[in-house]
């Protein structure tokens, strides 16, 4: 277990495998508190965490907010809608102003890749990336790793398929970095229009035929088709996508016994997977939410503990 020395969590690309394991171990210690709110901790008492969300998100924002509060912190929600940003203020000025309120940690989501890095260069407060464009979403990657380790006992040596919209997915990128660092074999699979060729440079196998690769997979992480991010049509129809890549019980039955199904949510039932699969015994979708809370508690706690 590596000692934690970072006040920021910007992406899994930056972390060593030891640092990732440090987070996962800390999250494990917090899992009971994540499940049972009355088991509140006080390690962030007197600290202030800001949720600075420039993109709509309720789930991730609420998850970070709950995580912070369960550690005793105060939470400020600073949504960009109706804020000073619309009055022409620069992004960094907004963040600096918020910091002047005596803030310890800024959790930031922004449509522009690299925004959390930029912020971290201008703030004394710690910065946690809650999603920057199609770049990274490190706490989602960590909770996926956590869930795999929880269900399989390890990550090392497993084969994990990231399925679907790889091109628009920050979740894919954070998963790839984390999985590769922890020793998993990663296959990215989807229609050629949604899987960029260069992704192979990250050390993953690129596939387009799900039925061909499924028998080799221990885990399938079903990514959401990000209809709201796509400009133009990337596949002929939802029906055709579902036919080729939809995770059905029939298709599952041709995979490995006990394959683990993850999905970062929100899921489009009937597009990426059927309700039988989403709610079936292979699915860890609901556990992922609780695990996400534990992982975010761990990240906030570790980053806030580093002197600034």
């Amino acid at each position: 277990m590596a000692a934690w020395t970072r006040k920021n969590l910007l992406g899994l690309e930056d972390l060593s495998s030891g640092e990732i394991v440090t987070i996962l171990d800390r999250a494990e210690a917090y899992l009971e508190t994540a499940r049972n709110p009355s088991a509140r901790k006080t390690s962030l008492a007197g600290r202030v965490v800001v949720n600075l969300f420039f993109e709509a998100s309720t789930r991730t924002r609420v998850s970070f907010g709950l995580a912070a509060r369960r550690l005793g912190a105060d939470v400020i929600d600073f949504a960009a809608g109706g804020s000073s940003v619309s009055k022409g203020e620069s992004f960094v000025d907004t963040a600096r102003n918020i910091e002047a309120f005596g803030i310890d940690l800024v959790v930031v989501r922004h449509a522009v890749p690299g925004t959390p890095h930029l912020l971290s260069q201008h703030l004394r407060a710690g910065v946690v990336n809650a999603g920057d464009g199609a770049h990274e979403h490190p706490t989602q990657g960590l909770l996926d790793l956590f869930t795999i380790r929880q269900r399989r006992g390890r990550v090392d040596g497993l084969t994990v398929c990231l399925l679907g919209d790889i091109a628009h997915s920050r979740v894919a990128r954070s998963n790839i970095h984390g999985l590769v660092k922890l020793g998993a074999k990663v296959i990215v699979c989807g229609p050629p229009t949604l899987v960029p060729r260069q992704i192979a440079d990250l050390g993953v196998e690129v596939a387009h035929d799900l039925d061909a690769v499924l028998p080799r997979c221990d885990v399938v992480n079903v990514l959401r088709i990000q209809f709201e991010r796509q400009r133009g049509a990337f596949f002929p129809s939802i029906r055709e996508y579902f036919h080729l890549y939809g995770m059905t019980r029939e298709r599952l039955s041709r995979g490995r016994k006990g394959v683990l199904i993850l999905a970062p949510g929100p899921i489009n039932r009937g597009v990426e997977l059927t309700p039988e699969v989403a709610d079936g015994p292979e699915s860890a979708i609901i556990d992922q939410v609780t695990n996400g809370l534990a992982v975010r508690m761990a990240v906030l706690d570790l980053c806030a503990g580093v002197p600034r």
Copy 2:
């Protein structure tokens, strides 16, 4: 007083008169805390209550939020605007995901009648209906009952007129169920376009001439004209509506002495009632707000106390 065994409050139609009285008695015990925030209770300490509002509402949301906090609970506001629902997630998936955060109670408002029932079938958490379309708004019905009992000492044997837009009103429906169960005589009164004939099946008298029925009424509950719900014109003009159904001091003077005026709010002054009536001695409009807080404390406390 009936023992409380429900983890959900979906509508007054489901409750026995004994259960309704149980809530009203509990609310009475909380009235002082509703009036005086520093008299905080701890019966929900360590519990998490979610406000899951798919329809705009500040008043009801704030009332539930304050009620929960005054009992020591944590409150999460989960407004549908900008949430995962807009990304195509199903309603039940959203709720299940929220539940995975370790939630105890979900307070839900939704434009579709029956949504709280649907939720309650899929969640272990308790579900409290904060208004489902034109179906029910049980805590509003309860606070109206509470206010009548507070001002008149009883509900049984009183004649209560529900005035105005009955067709679009969930408040009317919850009032009817509650009043009839507690032994009141209910008259619904409004223009024929706003009073559905079948409402008589609920055991109420249907009237269209307010001046004819007013002398028999102990209580008039002035419902809001829901301009935002109406498609098309249900009466010739606001002036004509006001002439026939507007609650004026002159009209009041022809009613029973000391008739009690309720209004669920927000009120349209000069449409449903005049400022003199809204602010006069017969009006309990402001007390209703404080009573609503006490009633919601009682409901949350009772539902959270039932093992899941």
Copy 3:
């Protein structure tokens, strides 16, 4: 130091110099708590403060919210978007309804000048003006005074220039009242279209040539060009405005040594001032944010302490 007897803070025009100094002294005592959230106070424990914002604002709303919470109060955010106001309810009815929740203080922002005064006539709760149209923004005025006193040791006898959009600025008006009462000489400077002639009646000098007055100024308060409030064009171009009134390092070098630069924020870098000036040693912009927190703690504490 004058004894504080007001439950409302509506504008600096109403206050005596002694009352202003009382607020500034109290704010000084709270400065450490403003900087360091863990040094929480309990003087408002059990009290409820409502943020009733009818105009978009994140910064001021968050500042008031944090100030209230650091004194132990509960805070309710009551934004007008999606609230009962859109259902046709009157402003005062909304406020009265909120008051019935057991509220102690209402912090109100509204586009209509005089709204806080109107509210204060109808509520028992205290009312704090967080900006009413182009009329007053007293806590901004107070934090500017506080910052000047902090950096210069006094306000009396200093020459302060309010620069830019005076016509649309409630900040200008509150500054003028406060500065004049505390004995400062005030120069308002900007293009003739943005500086109303009658402003001279408030006891200030009107100027249009910044370079001519700058050498006499100890403090320059750089007001924001309120693009969102202006209907029509008040100056030929941003480039021309910047040329004549933009605060640059070159221009600063021709002013008094150690002139103090204030800006209420959000700032438009490159319009009202350059980044070198905004981030330079003369600028107190970031300190103003922390000071604003201390000032708002003082105001809430003083107003809540007056019996109602």
